[in-house]
Symmetry: C2
Subunit: 246 residues, 2 copies
């Protein structure tokens, strides 16, 4: 498994050289903390990488490797920083932010849809979110290589930073007053925030958002899959842009 790094020294080296993008570091909670474990924790904190302590049984799948109770999961892509993305020029651009999507199949499908719809970046939080891993790569049908993926520690700060750069924040929210097709998306840079399937977009994001939009449901059954909800909204923005060009 080329997407996993095993053992304390190898993980430290990967954290120090920063040549490979690390999604998270997993540490067995049955090993003794030593200088190297401390160093791994410090490096993770410095670089904003999640580290998790798990039961040693979780390491059974790695038993053929000398993992010393520490493994790092490598991302198949290099994430882009929000600063780098914002430093480029954008005009009538769209970005999608996911707030708490935890299913890899959903993230893969969303990235595919975003690429097809000309979305310029996908933003995911580093916590409480699925990361770009092998499952996401596969379900995305390779789309992860066609769009920048930005990982942020604080979705709220990231959105505020985007607002300072004149991006409009649009939250998809089942209780919104406006239908998604009543907003004019053609003349602005906007970031569309989609929430987790059950919890929706978090309150702090709803509060700072400039618009909230909903998808009107024709049945009481109100339970659209997040990737399908995104598809409905994002292709409406495409429709508006293409209609305007004609």
């Amino acid at each position: 498994m080329a997407n996993i790094i095993y053992g304390k020294n190898a993980v430290i080296e990967a954290l120090e050289t920063q040549e490979r993008e690390i999604n998270k570091v997993i540490i067995s909670n049955s090993i003794h903390t030593d200088g190297k474990i401390d160093k791994i924790k410090t490096l993770c904190q410095k670089r904003g990488i999640i580290f998790q302590f798990v039961a040693k049984e979780k390491f059974a799948q790695h038993s053929e490797f000398n993992h010393q109770g520490v493994v790092a999961h490598i991302s198949p892509i290099k994430y882009m920083s929000l600063e780098e993305f914002l430093s480029k020029e954008h005009k009538n651009s769209s970005v999608v932010m996911l707030d708490g999507v935890e299913d890899g199949h959903n993230l893969g499908a969303i990235i595919r849809t975003c690429v097809c719809a000309g979305v310029e970046a996908v933003i995911i939080p580093s916590r409480r979110s699925v990361q770009v891993d092998a499952v996401v790569e596969k379900t995305s049908a390779g789309a992860i290589n066609h769009i920048p993926i930005i990982k942020v520690n604080s979705p709220v700060s990231a959105l505020q930073q985007m607002q300072e750069h004149n991006w409009w924040v649009i939250a998809a929210e089942a209780d919104a007053k406006d239908n998604y097709y009543d907003v004019n998306y053609s003349d602005m840079n906007f970031v569309l925030v989609m929430g987790a399937e059950h919890a929706g977009v978090s309150k702090s994001i709803i509060k700072l958002s400039d618009f909230q939009v909903k998808i009107p449901m024709l049945k009481e059954f109100n339970s659209l899959n997040v990737s399908n909800a995104l598809s409905a909204i994002i292709f409406e923005t495409v429709r508006q842009k293409l209609k305007k060009d004609n």
Copy 2:
């Protein structure tokens, strides 16, 4: 596993009483054909149920049951017949037909989307298509109980029958001239046909369809997941209907 019936007599009884909906009958190709197997084949043919011969290794998962080399997979729902559906009154209604979708997660997501968008039925072929099973039930988040699912032996004949009842057939097709949002969906009964992810809608269906529509892609990367493609198109039909009502 309540969704499987084991053994020759039990399968024959299920086929004869028709009290439970059978998705397919699986027969081990290492058992001797006898009168009961012949009877099972005849009953399946009569009722349009798929039967498949498989290697006996496939029965290893059923080893705790006395399966005699024959099992029947039960559907969690009762399918509706096309005749019954067409005998009801429909006005400005939509139906979705899937032509060769083989992934249960996709079918589940599609059924959810259809329920939310007020689609009145989903049509699937009995061959070369996933059937409604436990995976579909789960991914649909229960939506399979909120919409009629119609299973047809010949998608082409089914569409012709619908055309005779004044339904319009719309095929989603990547090479279509028209964008999906350039069709007026508000004043007709229509059936939207979505193809398999790689093959698309079959040529014979394209040929008999009244419209073909495509989703314009903003990037060369042309590989929308079928449930996401459906979502974009079907919510455009919802948008048009709701706009018209205002």
